[in-house]
Each structure stands twice: as C-alpha cells, then as structure tokens.
Amino acid sequence: MVEVRLENLTHSYDGKTNAVENISLTFQDKTANGLLGPSGCGKTTLLSIIAGLLKPTRGRVYFDGRDVTELPPEKRNVAIVFQFPVVYAMSVFDNLKFPLDANTKMSKDEKRKKVLEIADLLDLKPILGQTTTRLGPADKQRVALGRSLVREPSIFLFDEPLSSIEPDKKSFLKTKIKEVQKRLWQTTVYVTHDQTEALTFADNVAVMNRGKVIQFDKVEKLYKKPNSDFVGYFIGFPGMNILNGCLKGDEINLDDFVIKIPENVKFPEHVTEVKIGVRPEDIKVSGEKRRDWIPFKCDVFENLGKDFGILHLTTEHHRIKVKSKLSFSRGSDVWVHFPFQRLHFFDQKGRRITTF
C-alpha cells in the first residue's frame, strides 16, 4: 500500500530529445490511475521509470516518501503486466507458484493456498493443470496477471495489457481486472492509448502528449472541464470541435458567422482571440432554416448503424463534427446552433479560459 510520487522527471534516450519532460505527479495510496496518450507520448517511459526498469536522466521517484530512484526493479515490490503476456512453458499452477518458489518463509501448504486463492479470483481453477503453451492470449494474460498477484505487490503496473487480446475475450478480461482492483486495492498505474480502458480502469487519468502531462484529473472532469484544447479533443468520440474566433464587442467573430455573447458572460480583459471548443454531442442541427441558426453544408454523414451518426459539416473556413439523429446527403444545407453554455474557451496556446 503505497503512495507514488514523481518529482521533476525527465528522461532522454539519445541525449537530444526528451521522451518525458519535467513530470511531477502523485498517485495516492490505493487509487487507480491511468496514463493516456497517443503513441510516442512517453507513457511507457514513465511506467518503466516507476518500475525501475529505466533510470531517469533527471528527477526522483518516491514510494511513501522513500526515494527509490536508485533501487532495482526487484527491490521495489512492483508488479507489471505487459502487452504480450509473459508466461513460462509449464502448468498454470506452476506459473502462479513460481514467484513463491524462492520464498523460504512460506510452507508448501501456504503457497498452495495462495495460488488457489488467486486462481479463484481470476477463474483459473478449471485450467490449473494445463500447460500454458496451448492457451490463447487472453488466458495467458490472466495467468500473467495471477502470477504477479501472488507476490502481493504494493504497486500494480499495467502496460497496454489488453492490446494483444482476442476481441471476443476482451470484455471478460476487463471484468476480471476490474474485480482484482476492487478486491485488492493496490495503487495501480494503467498505461494505454485507448480512452475506454483508461477511463474504465482509472479514477484519475493523466492525459499525456509529447512527453508532458497535459491534465491529471478525475475522469469526469477530463470530459466536463478539459484544461486545454488537446484534452478536449482527446477525450470523447468524436473529439471536441475546435474553432478559431475573435472577440468583438458582444460577439465572437468566426469569419463565416458570429456567436453572440450573452450579457451575463464576461471574458478576461486581455483576451481577444479565442479557440472555441464544442462537443459533437452538444451541437443542435436542423434541415430547415431557423432564426439565428448558422448555415453549414453537409460533407459526409457517417452511418454507424445506431440511433445517431456522425455528421461532418463545413462552412468556408470551418469544419465540424456533430452527433446527429438526422442524416443529410452531401451538399445539402444544414442549420446549426451552438448552445452558449455548452461552449468551452481556450486561449491561443490552448489553455482553458474561465469566463465569469
């Protein structure tokens, strides 16, 4: 049971570019945390530093206030589950028992009891006698997960554990991982490029890009109050639309149209240019002309076979995506309304602007 604190971590593989840059984060004891970002954002590098597989170029790692930066992985009591399940070519039972073999303090019965307890938790009992060579990726991953659990690690690290799992077994494994989390409550760090996995397994998620943590926040807040246009775009499907505009009196000018600023809303004084963020599910559309609604042209309608599809609309300077129950054909006129209270505002650097 450990609090993980990262202090000013920087790592460079080649001495020129930084894979992670000046990252400071605290994962509270017994919380589930996610590292989410596009490939190459530095999330696996960060995980390797926590595990001790990589020594950072600069910065420190603390477990419960103790500096572990120089400690090798085996002295950190950390378990890692990798993308490709690591199992030994022996029975499932022996795989689970393996980490306990070197433990001279435990009796044979105690070891057996521990293995069975973990096997029960992961539904591995029916296949305990089988060798791992014949198992599919999902079952192998369960064995790998179980093997790291028997050691009772204080920190659990996951590195894209579902990426190479056969699709039809994914949800079963997800349910198991979630159960393990609920039952054992270690501090966990879950690395993924998949927002569903991050938001499902973690209470707090650090959204990363180009070696930096952009926002570390509760899952709901990432969606409702992104601190930047990047997070706004990254969370949600499809991501937030970002449109450039200029503040002019009581309007925002977007070249092809204007958005009226309600009287009770004030922007900070120095702001003149804004990036407007609006979620595809917050935009209203109509096939008929309506007063004060903005004319767009339909480019593509993506039929997803559901109650709604994704409508791509354009004006001369803008392109937006809308989650829409109505479908339109290419080139047809569509009138659009942006509910003001649903809009997010960011400055030119993409940082959230608070209106008052």
Binding site: P38, S39, G40, E166, P167, D168, S171, K174, T175, K178, H193, D194, Q195, T196, L199, T200, V219, E220, L222, Y223, Y233, F234, I235, G236, F237, P238, G239, R279, P280, E281, D299, V300, E302, N303, L304, G305, K306, D307, F308, H312, K323
Partner: protein
C-alpha cells in the same frame, strides 16, 4: 484528383475494373480457409468484406491481388480470366494493416518508389508525390525518415504510396486496425473522402461493422471461409441472414438470448426472461428461438411507447469518454448495452427498457433469421 488509370505498355487506359470470383477455394496446410466463394464486385463499387478474426478476409484479398493462387475456381477482372496472373499484372493498390515502409528511404522516396519502378520521369514523379503528400497532410515531412515520424504519419505515408500508384482496384486490409483511436477517427473519414474522389473499385476487409457501414455500399459477410450474406449493406444490416451475421454485424456485438416458445392459454409465448414474455402467436415461430438485440437498442429511459422493462445486474461499466458500454447479466446470460452518453450507475440492479420491435428472431436449430418482431 485521384484519377484511376491503368498504365500499360501501349498506353491504354482503363478507369475501373469489375471483379468476379467464381467458386474460389483455398487450402492452407490441409485446412480449407476459403470455401467455394463466388462474389461479384461491380466496377467502381465500394465493397466491405466483413467478418470476425480468422474468417479468411486477408486470404481473400491476397487471392484477388494475386499474392496467393486459388486451389480451385477462377478470378475475372472485367471478364478476363486473371487467375494465373502475377500481382504486378493486375494493377492493384494495397493498403494493409502491418504496413512496411522502406526504413532506408525518406518519406519522399517511399511514396515515389512505385513510380520509379514504373519508369516515370523525375518531373512527373515530383508532381505526383507532392500532390499526394499534400492531400494527406504530410507534405511537411517529406525529407524525414520513417523512424523519425509517428505511427499515424507512417500510416499516411503508406496510404500515399498506395494511392500514388493510381490503381484501378484498391484493396484495403484492415488499414485502421493498428491505429490509435484518435487517428482512426480522423483517418477513416479522410481516406473515404480521398477514395470517393476517384472512381476505382474498392474492397475493404474489416472486422469493424462501423468501418464497413461508413465505407461500403455492398457487403460480403465472410465467416469460416464461407460467404454467409451479400448484398446492399444497409439491407444486410437490417436483415442479418443468420445468428453469426447478426452477432458480428453489430458494434458492440449483438446480444443473443435463447428463448423457448411456450404455449399459454392457446397462445404462443416467447420466453425471453422471467419478466419478459412476448405473445408471438401471429408470427408462427419454431419451438426454439434465439432473440438478437443490438446493444444500442437497450435504453436507460423509456424512449418510446410500448417499451418493456428488464432487470439485469451490472457487471462492468466501461466509460468511453462521451459514450459507455455496460456489461450486465440477465438470468445468467450476458447482456451488453451501449449509450451515447456517460452516466455513473450506482446500483448493481438495473432497470432497462427495450422495444420488442428491435428484436431479431432467429431459429436456434438452423441459425437462420426468421423475422423481426412485429406487433400483432
């Protein structure tokens, strides 16, 4: 912009190609991986080959491309038998899941490679490469090497290299599978937009029903090497021919609930769950049925009149940012719900609304689609 032209020795140009497969069969190591497949892809059509993993989709594309030779059957392009033609004589552009760029060539040379092989002049190559790179938004990285650019950029380079060939036929083998979800979101529309500008025949192999629906006009549903259904894609979506088609032509997968038919007071009742029993006397159903229900047709609120309720228990709530997938259990069988919004479910016992008119009824014995439920 994307002119689809076949360059031949005598300079003859075609614009598109009709593809026909006649009783095509292929064995790998004694196992029949393609089983007597006959399909016809009209010239200029957008066809999706949809099916789960290991259905034989990639093999089928390899056969069309000429990378593999069939063990039985014939393949025709515009009526001409090309079964024994090598790949280079078929003028096909391919875009695959595990695309490989030449690591020793920069982006420009990677895109130019098919044109160099064809012997175009330096000016022609330069014009084509730059035009294609621009349309894919990679014109600013032309002098970088593959190891210097991101995975998404690599995918764009591979796409540009395939498109620059200006082939009459494009085969896309799960081109989005290895992409980040954000890249997938932009690439699938981008690629559709680019391909739509041309008139080429396009065949997309994918396990993803959404990609198939977005891309294609025609569906070929492949399962275990066999074609289980083919036809206009939206028609297939609303009338899946069998349980397998229904299951995999749905994202998330279709819920399938076994429902025996019982007789009550001279009425035929479909016993879907303890609380959900449907009078189907007017439908003339067999004794054992399977009811299919797509996850987006389960609702947290009563959306329409005539909706019925079920009370499953919550197993796992998957949060996808702006939408969610809820895994549940109902009388011991699994049930999945999709909602286009996120709401934290606090209670383990749920109350879910369903509309019987969304029920697909299959025969358990034959697996064949019988009817959609209609009110009597």
């Amino acid at each position: 912009m994307l002119e689809l032209t076949i360059y031949t020795k005598n300079g003859i140009k075609h614009y598109m190609t009709k593809i026909e497969l006649e009783n095509v069969t292929k064995f790998f190591g004694g196992k029949k991986v393609i089983d007597n497949v006959s399909i016809s892809v009209e010239s200029g059509d957008r066809t999706a080959i949809l099916g789960p993993d290991k259905a034989g989709k990639s093999t089928l594309l390899s056969l069309i491309a000429g990378i593999e030779k069939p063990d039985g059957g014939r393949i025709y392009f515009d009526g001409k038998d090309v079964t024994r033609y090598p790949p280079q004589k078929r003028n096909i552009g391919m875009l695959v899941q595990t695309f490989a760029l030449y690591p020793n060539l920069n982006v420009y040379e990677n895109i130019a490679s098919p044109l160099r092989a064809r012997g175009l002049t330096t000016e022609e190559i330069d014009r084509e490469v730059k035009e294609q790179a621009k349309s894919l938004g990679i014109d600013d990285i032309l002098h970088h090497y593959p190891y210097e650019i991101s995975g998404g950029e690599c995918q764009r380079v591979a796409t540009a290299r395939a498109l620059v060939k200006k082939a009459a036929v494009y085969l896309l083998d799960e081109p989005f599978t290895n992409l980040d979800y954000k890249l997938k979101e932009s690439m699938r529309v981008e690629l559709k937009r680019i391909l739509d500008k041309g008139k080429g025949t396009i065949i997309l192999a994918t396990p993803d029903p959404e990609e198939a629906l977005i891309f294609a006009k025609t569906l070929v549903f492949l399962y275990d090497g066999k074609v289980l259904q083919k036809g206009p894609i939206e028609e297939c979506y609303s009338k899946p021919a069998s349980i397998s088609v229904g299951k995999y032509f749905s994202k998330p997968m279709m819920n399938l609930i076994e429902a025996p038919l019982v007789q009550k007071n001279k009425r035929s009742v479909l016993n879907i769950s303890d609380e959900l029993q449907l009078d189907v006397t007017h439908l003339n159903l067999p004794e054992e049925c399977v009811v299919g229900l797509r996850p987006h047709n389960l609702y947290l609120v009563k959306e329409r009149e005539g909706m019925l309720t079920i009370s499953p228990t919550l197993e796992l709530q998957e949060n996808a940012g702006s939408e969610m997938i809820v895994r549940m259990k109902l009388d011991g069988s699994s049930l999945t719900m999709y909602t286009p919004f996120v709401k934290r479910l606090k209670e383990k016992s749920l109350r879910i609304f369903v509309d019987p008119c969304d029920f697909y009824i299959f025969s358990k014995k034959t697996g064949k689609f019988i009817t959609k439920y209609q009110r009597g």
